[in-house]
Symmetry: C2
Subunit: 535 residues, 2 copies
């Protein structure tokens, strides 16, 4: 996309999401995106004989954003319900809570969170499937692969990002994504899909290796575009599959919905999941598949409520595809969870008696792009008038000079927000402005019904948070695994071993033993990591 300001608006998709809704005569996001719903063209599921385990992660998906997604779908778009809530309420489902501390912090990073699931062991923030002293930990994917099960990883982040990678790699620093891509080539998962071509492309890798060729040489189908993925031959091919659709992360669902060129090139999470299940279920013994809606976390880091809601919506639509699979393959268990909270996330009560809360939530609806996209149009040299124009174009909200100044200030290199933990800028400032439920001043300090101008989702920071996360499971043997109470995240490894009938105990270290291995980064180095993390 072009990088200058307002003049390029014609480069944006000519059809806004709102207009699409109108065209399609439907209020449901679910019907918006081709193939997001049921029965799409790339094929239905046949019955296989093996046992399947689907592990669905909403990265950084605290309770608040799940509820936000549900309220938007039901109250704003008028849908009857959501898959998430149907499952949470179903008599056959198990619901529980999960604690998420790592070995170095009560607030975990995604790396050790995913390591607890994949190995049953706590390690330090940033470390992958290894103990703090470097001893590698055997992962559930390594264990089941030895027994002949197929393995798959699907994500909307770079495939080399921490959450999927921790199921396979033993790198001591999650940022070694070049090395992680090589680890994948060595491990050979049957399905690997997401973003991150920069770690496969010989022109972008530091070692100049061509990993696309590498996977191809190992007998993989390699796809780079949505259209190729949806080609029925890919689903029915007996080869393993590498699908890498973007240089870095897959775009936010919000942006794929609004920019036709993105939506055309990049598949949805439900689409990737469908093809993954078609392929993995060919293994007669069975499979394990991790599916990650990985950018809910990023949107929350950015305090971008609407992008977070829509990425959570994409996770919800994925549940429908999984349900379809379960109908044909009842010997499958589904585990849904989140690795940690990100940035708090609350729908704040709005207006007198909180009675304007729904109206305020509705105000996010006309937003045309994620902060990730809006930021590409904002420049630190811009005049206030230009900032106001850009903000209005993408959000429909005309902001004040004072608000534009706040955005301008937050873009300057020397900007240090008062609240030290709001590191993602100007994102957090934009999030704050959007959550500012301004009332119509013409009527005085407000009487009668809602006259609010903006949304109401608030954030506690731009960092991860320490509260417990949701745990939902259903399907084959779900009632035998002890997931219907409060568990530590390490217990999920135990439960998965139980499902597969595997016994394995990795070595552990105590917090005290781990301390000498904690190498705390400088704040500047940490900032660079954080920027890389979501960019």
């Amino acid at each position: 996309m072009a990088k200058t300001g307002r003049g390029n608006e014609k480069n944006m998709s000519g059809v806004s999401r709102r207009e699409m809704l109108k065209i399609m005569g439907a209020g449901a996001i679910g019907t918006l995106f081709p193939g997001a719903g049921h029965g799409q063209s790339s094929g239905s599921f046949s019955t296989s004989g093996g046992d399947g385990l689907i592990f669905l992660v909403g990265d950084g998906m605290p309770l608040g954003v799940i509820k936000g997604m549900h309220q938007v779908r039901t109250r704003v778009y008028g849908e009857k319900g959501t898959n998430f809530y149907s499952k949470m309420k179903a008599p056959y489902s198990m619901v529980g809570y999960m604690s998420t501390e790592s070995l170095s912090s009560i607030v975990t990073d995604s790396a050790p969170a995913s390591v607890t699931w994949s190995t049953g062991v706590k390690t330090l923030n940033r470390v992958m499937a290894s103990l703090p002293d470097g001893r590698p930990l055997k992962t559930i994917m390594e264990l089941v692969k030895e027994q002949g099960y197929a393995c798959g990883l699907v994500t909307t982040t770079r495939v080399t990002h921490a959450t999927p990678a921790a199921w396979i790699t033993h790198q001591l620093n999650r940022d070694n994504e070049d090395a992680i891509a090589l680890d994948y080539l060595k491990f050979k998962p049957e399905v690997l899909m997401g973003g991150g071509s920069r770690f496969f492309d010989p022109l972008r890798r530091k070692d100049g290796k061509d990993l696309f060729k590498g996977f191809s040489n190992e007998g993989y189908d390699v796809v780079r575009e949505r259209a190729d993925l949806l080609n029925p031959e890919i689903g029915s091919s007996k080869k393993s599959l590498l699908g890498i659709f973007t240089s870095s992360h897959i775009s936010y669902y919000l942006d794929r919905l609004n920019q036709a060129e993105l939506g055309k090139k990049q598949p949805t999470l439900p689409e990737m999941t469908r093809v993954a299940l078609q392929k993995l279920s060919k293994n007669p013994k069975g499979f394990i598949l991790q599916v990650e809606a990985g950018r809910i976390d990023h949107a929350n880091h950015s305090n971008d409520a609407w992008a977070a809601i829509l990425d959570t919506c994409e996770l919800d639509l994925t549940l429908a595809v999984i349900d379809e699979y379960l109908k044909a393959n009842p010997k499958t268990i589904v585990i849904v969870t989140s690795d940690h909270g990100t940035s708090g996330w609350g729908i704040n009560g709005t207006g007198p008696e909180y009675n304007d809360s729904i109206e305020a939530l509705k105000k996010y609806q006309p937003i045309k792009a994620s902060f990730e996209v809006i930021k590409t149009r904002l420049k630190k040299e811009m005049a206030l008038a230009e900032i106001k124009d850009v903000f209005e174009y993408f959000t429909t909200f005309r902001i004040t000079d004072e608000e534009a100044s706040m955005i301008q200030a937050a873009m300057q290199p020397d900007y240090r927000p008062f609240h030290g933990d709001y590191v993602f800028q100007p994102d957090a400032v934009m999030g704050k402005i959007l959550a500012h439920s301004l009332y119509d001043k013409r009527k005085g300090m407000m009487e009668g019904p809602a006259l609010i101008r903006r949304g109401n989702v608030g954030f506690t920071s731009t960092n991860h948070t320490g509260e417990d996360q949701i745990l939902l499971s259903y399907g084959y043997k779900a009632n035998q695994l002890g997931l219907n109470r409060h568990v530590d995240n390490t217990y999920l490894f135990t439960a998965m071993c139980k499902f597969f009938g595997i016994q394995h105990q990795n070595p552990t270290m105590t917090e005290e033993e781990a301390k000498p291995f904690i190498k705390t980064a400088s704040l500047e180095e940490w900032r660079r990591h954080m920027e890389l993390h979501i960019a």
Copy 2:
């Protein structure tokens, strides 16, 4: 307490919480307060024949503050665990989730939230046990009383506050607390304990009625001080009990721990609960008891993390008393929940790799008073130096002139915070300053281990929030009530009816039917309500 500034510090309790810890040679909050633990002097429990239902509410207690309490107890005070987490993990416990929407808003007020439990019906924000059109709804307490069960209400708020009152009263506006006190006199619950003497005292009531005398005339024991409550004769007396210990709400647990005169006069929630159970269990048929840790909500409205953590701690200590009761009386069920979230509440990841998160949480420990108390020492005319001194005295943190200016500005009558929903001031500004994890500047922008000065709990607003709340139940018939999944808050009425073998269906209204009855207050009127709410 005197209302002027620093000069009165000697009027404060001479013994700080820290010094108390030292004196008592214990790191556990649980051992701090006389009678908070097990086996205290006011007597143990004998076995009764009836069925008991204990409904324990943490008002405005989202997941984040429960976790904060657990982390503080285990990581800061070195305790082995908490009652809350033991119960959440116990194989015999049922855990679930609960949605909290009211009929007028996706973000509920405490009044209709409590009405859903007590009647199974959704109504408008601020309305008590009635439909929006005024039709009264029969409450579970009315239903069980008719069948001969005893009823009890215990809270740390005014007893006339919405959460306890909705189990009995049908007032259309929760703020009619004078009338609610009269409704209690009419209903005659066997136990009624908490704060709020101003609605019982003839000198404070608008109608001049003496409700203490009124209850006394109806055969109640009336107690006004902790010492009287702990008199064994009260526990063993066959009379009903009215215990009103403060003019408005009971002080925060934090302030009762730090100010000896408060702790001496006002009982703890565990103490009130113990006496309530002793009395109610005398009824051979059984009883229903609502116990509310009602000020977690207030502390969260004020963005006062430490006060919220300690009030949640008091709820946790109450669980121990209840457990003791259950051992002697196994035909008892316990339901623990929260009516809604308040102000988001997240322990933010702190510092590089989030590795300073525990250190930051520890920084709350030396705080000597709630914002409620600190505010009585801050005056809007104060110079910055004075504001800095007061803040430092109570928190130990020396703030900057800029920070003191923020507090000063937030105290001015015309103050309008940018973020429109941070209505409680200067509370929210103080909360923000405390959550500002400043690093030691001498070492440059930070290298090496934690050098942070302050805490890390962030808030999304000073309002209620819309996410689902925790649901925990255990004891008699707990596994027969369907509370081990996601339920709507109205379902708790159904579950309680099931427990008591009662069949009752109240009339309902749809959101559409309710709309004409929504009378939205002006913002100014709402502000007055909010101030009254927590003051």
